[in-house]
Symmetry: C2
Subunit: 226 residues, 2 copies
């Protein structure tokens, strides 16, 4: 792929029309939002109509790898225009006026053309990035894929060339008149995503402790927002 600018590209569809003050233009902001997510929403066009499917993903530098099982049955050729969106809801913003209610959130919207991975080495790298993104430490712990399993797995790649990042944080923004009128409570209810205690599979052949790469993720102290 071609070298990418450290700044996100300002094409018309990746430039924000509404709430432009919420835009982030650094590539590191894009990485942060993508890396903190668990699932992305993959959008594509099938028979002229939009389709949006939740999909597992991973990032390797400036390439996003998507588990293609769901979208791939629509991918007739080797390439497909897609839009991939990752969103974290960080809080509910209660304002004095219903018109000013909002959400605190971080979102990344990536536009581009997804290609189906055919190279065996890249496919292995892609699957590793997806598994490690979702469940860090698992690739080396679990049994690796056989050739037959690899053949049964479809992975899409999407260059992080064109993207927009939008972040809202902080308290509500009411009009001065509503702040002075003081007729309602206002504030933010924060939202967090929490990993619970690991639940061992009931058919584990032998009792074994939860491995460190799984155990250390549990509990409210190890929380990625979103």
């Amino acid at each position: 792929m071609t070298a990418l600018s450290p700044e996100l590209s300002p094409t018309s569809r990746s430039t924000l029309g509404r709430h432009a003050e919420r835009a982030r233009t650094d590539r590191t902001d894009l990485y942060d939002v993508l890396d903190a997510g668990l699932v992305c929403h993959l959008g594509f066009v099938a028979d002229g109509a939009p389709v949006v499917l939740p999909t597992a993903y991973g990032r390797d530098g400036d390439v996003l790898y998507l588990h293609g099982s769901s979208g791939a049955r629509y991918l007739l050729g080797d390439e497909m225009p897609v839009c991939v969106t990752v969103t974290h809801v960080d809080g509910l913003v209660h304002a004095r006026a219903v018109f000013s209610f909002s959400m605190n959130y971080r979102s990344a919207v990536v536009h581009g053309t997804a290609r189906r991975i055919t190279d065996a080495d890249e496919q292995l790298r892609a699957l590793r990035s997806i598994v490690e993104h979702l469940t860090p430490g698992s690739w080396d712990h679990a049994r690796g894929p056989t050739r037959r399993e690899l053949a049964a797995t479809s992975v899409l790649a999407l260059d992080l060339g064109e993207a927009s990042v939008k972040i809202r944080s902080g308290p509500p923004a009411d009009d001065d008149a509503d702040v002075e009128a003081d007729a309602a409570w206002a504030g933010v209810v924060p939202i967090r995503t929490v990993f619970g205690e690991p639940e061992p599979a009931p058919d584990l052949a032998t009792a074994r402790p939860v491995p460190a790469h799984v155990a250390e993720r549990a509990g409210p102290s190890a929380v990625p927002a979103g």
Copy 2:
């Protein structure tokens, strides 16, 4: 709108190709997934390419109302084909083989034609459903919208006519050989969404207690999954 079947319609695009055993066909399952969500992902086609944007929404019977600020600038006519997806990630499924890693999740994918709401009464009802969905009890607590605020708000409506619901839950599903080999830990790391302690706006004119409809949502005991 026309009367809807209690069963979700089995069109080709709403019938699951992969993992058909995860499909739910009752309309109540659709309601449950939609009602438990905070944000949906609205997909549409702009200049021939897919766009997916996170959007607030509410449900009123068999109509989904979408806060149209983001998508609406692409809505040139009064109607637009859309796909609206709501996803909850409930757990990370660690298997013995990386090929069998999965997620526990609930998702709803709605296909249809969104229409821009122009009727003032319906717009008010739609905004109420969006605000009450996101922050129950807030519509009556906060100041209602003025005519000018209503005019500045765009809302889309989407009939819940064609949709698919997919749910995965429970432990990993490894091959027998991998279960017997017993070479790796397997199990589920559950994921929950938690509302934190409300953070009052710093510019509240007078100290006032957090109202009950906000306070009762906080804490890990009042957790909607997803």
